[in-house]
Symmetry: C2
Subunit: 259 residues, 2 copies
């Protein structure tokens, strides 16, 4: 039975979408079935795979609105990554964005019911959330088993971790008793910056065993994903970014196996 | 009479808060009076100056809720920057964040009425918005004269410019006929990344004369602002980041003078 993991941070630009795409791809490359669900109305996840709403008639918006079978809103990303599927957000305009927000507001459990129908077909399902803690992120926390928080290795993004923890505790108390911490991931660690070692120490001191051992370095090759329209392991396997996400996938799988 | 400028982008982590802090400081250093208003419930702006809600009894939340004189919610940032003031967001909890959202939802013009009372005392007022286009950003677009959009020099953030333009056009049509483009600012341009030249060319080709000539380079010294709790010109005047924001301030002031 698959684990449903929401990738969450109110701080923008910390690597939520990049982690969904690259970690998802690396885990699927190690013989696990992975589904990526784009909850961000910016459609950042769709864009990382070159998915245009015109090519995918059904996505999350249609599933929320029309109640068709979720399998219709799931697409294989690429023949080279056979175990990686995506459920695109499929939002094309501000009007559709407003509709999307309204559908989630009226029935925050709807997302949960949609995902439940496909959960058994995957080992991991990652929900890519926008930089906010109200809906759609709130609905994601209601549905998921645990949450992963990327923390950009800079002062500005450390400060916002407290809000995520408080929001998650509220959801756990009111809606989803199973909600746990999947982990905190240090991203964009820049060797050139003098503060990197100190920030990593502060993060580990504060969040302890919940912080992944693997740290994702700042690597411009990772920023090419939206233009290459594929995960970094598909075009630059030897880059520091690709190696780090592979290592993270291994760390997660060995943790799951209780090693 | 001051110009009211909203700093807007749905894409997270593109340098909205950094631009508010550093551009605001540089313009105030060139003999203009500047007010920074923090609209982001994450309180990123407050944190860049080390302002804790406990030190500032009144901020934007109190002004929206209690209707006291706006001057009570404005503080001088530092004696070394005598012409730079801040109106902090002052949000301490998720409950206050929900109250803030509710106050803006019920009366989107309220922000406009508050700022109007202090506008004549400043040459520039910058509104730092969160990474979203609904409230509080929508209220900011209703109130402001023009908007500034930072565009991180990467593929992911280029794609989201269209949404900002469409949202602004809607506000202009429905609520605020004076709304204009203050400019698009390329930020975090990384010399190491192979795509930088191409991305800058695409941005200039698409947005033409609306793109500032000045480009802000990726500079780790800029990421230290939240820990130094002052703008970069106050602690590292010779850094690439400080020089770029000084140059941007000069470009803006010479443009205003019609040079
Ligand atoms: N380790 C990294 N090194 C360098 N660039 C990175 C790295 N991770 C992500 N990026 C780039 O940084 C930018 C922000 O990353 P991303 O879009 O994944 O963040 P996000 O948290 O999903 O943003 P948002 O808050 O807008 O959803 C993107 O341009 C991405 O390509
Ligand atoms: N030119 C730059 N070079 C290097 N780092 C930068 C630069 N500008 C901003 N930063 C850093 O990048 C991170 C994101 O910047 P910032 O917080 O200003 O973006 P934002 O758009 O306000 O984010 P949010 O969407 O969360 O409000 C911060 O840690 C900041 O210190
Ligand atoms: Mg994202
Ligand atoms: Mg900000």
């Amino acid at each position: 039975m698959g684990q449903l993991i929401a990738i969450v941070s109110q701080k923008g630009g910390v690597g939520k979408t990049s982690t969904a795409v690259n970690l998802g791809a690396c885990i699927s490359a190690i013989k696990r079935r992975v589904l990526l669900v784009g909850l961000d109305p910016q459609c950042g996840l769709d864009k990382c795979f070159g998915i245009e709403p015109s090519q995918t008639p059904i996505g999350l918006l249609e599933l929320l609105r029309d109640g068709v079978s979720p399998a219709k809103g799931i697409y294989q990303v690429s023949p080279r990554l056979p175990r990686l599927d995506i459920m695109p957000t499929n939002i094309r305009s501000s009007a559709e964005e407003a509709l999307y927000a309204d559908l989630l507001q009226r029935d925050p459990q709807k997302l949960n019911r949609i995902i439940d129908q496909v959960k058994s077909q995957y080992d991991f399902i990652f929900l890519d959330c926008p930089p906010r803690l109200d809906n759609p992120t709130y609905s994601a926390l209601i549905a998921c088993d645990s949450y992963l928080v990327p923390i950009q290795c800079e002062y500005a993004s450390m400060a916002t971790v407290g809000r995520v923890l408080r929001s998650a505790l509220e959801v756990k108390r009111l809606h989803n008793t199973k909600l746990g911490i999947f982990g905190f991931l240090v991203t964009m660690a820049d060797k050139r910056a003098g503060f990197t070692v100190k920030v990593v120490q502060e993060i580990r001191g504060y969040l302890r065993e919940h912080v992944f051992k693997t740290i994702i370095p700042r690597d411009p090759r990772l920023a090419e994903v939206p233009s290459k329209q594929q995960p970094v392991i598909a075009y630059e396997l030897q880059s520091p970014g690709a190696k780090a996400y592979i290592q993270l996938a291994r760390e997660i799988l060995s943790r799951e196996a209780g090693v």
